[in-house]
């Protein structure tokens, strides 16, 4: 028998525990490493403070450390709440959750103040959204018991078996298509892109979504090998406005001209 309200509590707690755990790891690992990219908060804080004419890095560093400390405390609260729920100590779990959520709401309120000071309206929206999600999580965590002690039991009835068979069939079909798609398209990651001459001396390259800097380098080198008579004198990246909405990854125009013939 699984109680709905307990399951929802678990899902809310797991979400916020991992949210703050990964947030804390992101502060511990400040740069790009194998298995972790994260966001560079140090650079962000330095730039934000520089925009206020506070160029001494100590202020940004102290602020970042302060924010990280609150995040660590919040994470510990959620972790204790999760452990309390797991060990069936519901009142302790509720208390720790309330502490965690209060700290989180306080933290996001603090962030929104900062966003206003630094004039970053998009981040203000982002932090306000997280703030309201926290408030609603709090209400649902504490008051979902008003729904009553609804619970459900998983039994292998006929319809459950049909559901599982349908699910397995969908997963098998998707896997087949996924693996096939990967096999057919992965080569695009490194393969040079074919250029099309759209105007005399101007070639257009429509890069696939998998393409990155290596594809660009291979494309240019392959183009130079194919057209030894041409000299690339300019590269122009097609801005987003020229793209067909979500269909185009990157457009590149290569402007060329005939190499001057050498006179012996």
């Amino acid at each position: 028998m699984i109680k709905e309200k307990v399951a929802i509590k678990y899902l809310i707690l797991i979400y916020w525990t991992f949210f703050f755990l990964t947030g804390v790891i992101d502060k511990i690992v400040p740069d790009v490493y194998p298995f972790w990219v994260g966001a560079d908060f140090y650079t962000l804080f330095i730039k934000l403070f520089a925009s206020l004419e506070i160029k001494n890095p100590i202020y940004a560093t102290i602020t970042l450390a302060g924010v990280s400390l609150i995040e660590v405390m919040t994470f510990v609260c959620y972790l204790f709440a999760l452990c309390g729920l797991f060990f069936k100590n519901e009142s302790s779990s509720d208390q720790w959750f309330n502490r965690g959520v209060s700290l989180s709401i306080l933290l996001f309120s603090f962030f929104t103040m900062g966003d206003q000071v630094f004039g970053d309206r998009f981040t203000l929206l982002e932090h306000s959204i997280f703030w309201i999600i926290l408030v609603v999580s709090w209400v649902l965590f504490n008051h979902n018991s008003l729904l009553g002690e609804q619970s459900f039991e998983l039994r292998f009835t006929g319809e459950v078996k049909i559901g599982l068979i349908l699910w397995a069939a969908i997963v098998l079909i998707i896997s087949y298509f996924n693996f096939g798609f990967s096999k057919n398209t992965f080569a695009n990651k490194f393969k040079p892109v074919h250029g099309e001459e759209v105007v005399e001396g101007i070639y257009k390259f429509d890069f696939p979504f998998l393409a990155d800097k290596r594809t660009l380098e291979n494309t240019i080198s392959s183009f130079e090998n194919k057209h030894p008579e041409l000299e690339i004198n300019y590269l122009y990246t097609g801005p987003n406005e020229l793209n067909t909405k979500k269909k185009t990854h990157m457009l590149l125009y290569v402007f060329t001209e005939e190499k001057p013939t050498e006179v012996n």
Partner: protein, 285 residues
Amino acid sequence: MLGSLCSCFCRLFNRMINLDVEKTTKIKANGNLIRYLILIFWALFWLFNVLDKFVGGAHYLFVGKDRFAQIQRYFDSIGLGNPMVTNFTLTFTAALEAFALVCFLGALYHLIRKNLESNRVWFFLGISTTLTVYIFFSIGDQIFGDHSELLEHALFWFIALLSWIIFNRNNQFHIFDNFSISKKPILLFTLFAIIIGSVTCFSIFRHNQIAFKERTQAVHAKRISANKYKIEFPFLAGSSAFESTIAKFKEQHTDLRINFIYTAPKPMRLGQSDGLIIYLQTEEK
């Protein structure tokens, strides 16, 4: 005739959402309408996500999102460039999404059969799977450092949580309970809808006739100094318009060579009223 059409529409609507329609077209809704709407949303949401995984890449009538490319790039950024890692992650994600789809379809089936207890259980399983999917995605977003995706996934997690509470407590909201539609407001509504709709459609079709050619048409380059030209593209312009503009420019100025193109950045444009603006720098051949 209009009245009978309206009452026909009401009866059809009633069949779909289990409403009691009286002869005077008075409608009394029960609380299931919001449940149907929530279930249809989530079933279609996951159906299209699953379809997107089948299709892979942009095709005729379906562009979707190239998830393989997106996830492969993410894993490549953390040093796991092997496509098998991407394939297994994508398959695992698709399995969770397909499970949520099956649960919501099961919930919809039980709601149609008016088996509310089973409907609740299937819906709860669907919502739990949806919440789990978004927990999993949010962890990934933090690892890969994509905070706009983190916000998007947090919002979906939140929407799923709210859907669950509204689905279970919809009887206390009184949103669609007991509203009535008599013939006079329906006639007025139809009249207004037809008049305003006709004006809107006329304007849209007229604009289509005038403006569609801008998608590919060459744009005039305005000389702003001795060797610099400004080109202001309309909003509809795509890559073909850019190419024909450059071709026309080269044709008109055979003595000039383009040696630099500068794209005016967004802060240099007038609010939302300017489209793409480029500056060509040229030199004598």
